[in-house]
Chain length 184, copies 2
Amino acid sequence: MGERADAARNRHAILRATEELLATHGAHISLDQVAAHAQVGKGTVFRRFGSRTGLMQALLQERAVQLREALESGPAPLGPGAPPAERIVAFLDALSQLAAGNLALLAAHERSCATDRHADPTYVRWHAHLETLIAQARPDLDATFVAHALLGMFDADMVRRLTREGDPGRFARSLRQLVGELLA
Amino acid sequence: MGERADAARNRHAILRATEELLATHGAHISLDQVAAHAQVGKGTVFRRFGSRTGLMQALLQERAVQLREALESGPAPLGPGAPPAERIVAFLDALSQLAAGNLALLAAHERSCATDRHADPTYVRWHAHLETLIAQARPDLDATFVAHALLGMFDADMVRRLTREGDPGRFARSLRQLVGELLA
DNA sequence: AACAAAACGGACTAATAGTCCGGTTACATG
DNA sequence: CATGTAACCGGACTATTAGTCCGTTTTGTT
């Protein structure tokens, strides 16, 4: 037997409440607020998600499900089949879009995962994906390193700064240009 | 008149105490600990540095003074005179060295400046330096963006991960290789 | 219906950044 | 040297918030 009905209901309510609070109040929300807004006791939040970090990771994973499926079995160039260089560009474009649409979540996630964000399952998956493709496209580079460098750009502050005002496409464009230099 | 004698003495004691605690306890130190170890009241810490962030920024600035002077008026290629590409490499090498020798401080600094680390005076100076050189070496790139990307690699966790065990030179080497690709 | 396992809520604890103010000290001045 | 005052000092106090605990309630099975 999986999760009890009330448990599933509350898990959903908590994720929803977190989303709404992030949208209305930005990244600085407390778990008391989340619990109150979800009409749930604080203990329930921790029982379901373990910690603030767990909650944010769960929310990020939820938002990244579609991208994950697209990478694993979707159409090229995001999915398998295209040359590595094209897949890298497609992946980073998709990530740029995801990031731009989830700035508050991204910031909250960073705040929570401050300590070893490299352990976050979503980060790990993204990094592994990039690393593999980079190793294929440019076996002479330090793929692990370069993958970290590229993912490092998806810092919430960075994206916000380079995105806001006047030029929403700058971030994705500059990132693509940078990748172009690396793979040239 | 500048700072009163006792004020100066305490400022120094606090910086010293912070250094020592970072060295012995890692990045997770509280300001109560700092005050106690400096044999000073907590209020004094805040009066002198304004906040935890202020303290960490002051400490980082102190450690970065030599590098700063070298950049502004030292011998080439770190100082003025060499071609931009060489200066970039020299600067990043110096930064790698500084980072490797101050991992705990770097981590504590990141933790404190979580919100808008782009406002930190040391970060701003380093970014401006890089940005200028990149714009000279490769006017076709988005210098602001690339400068952020390069500085983003000096994340404490990242440096630690790529530095520890077996290959202390990997970080600097991989970074140099990456820069080589960008400026080629 | 009865029972056990799972879940619930919210009061409680712990850690810690930052504030406040009554008492103290350095130093400029005469 | 004596003195007035502005700057400084300590550490108790407040506020915030992540995470724990346990008596009570719900769920789902037999």
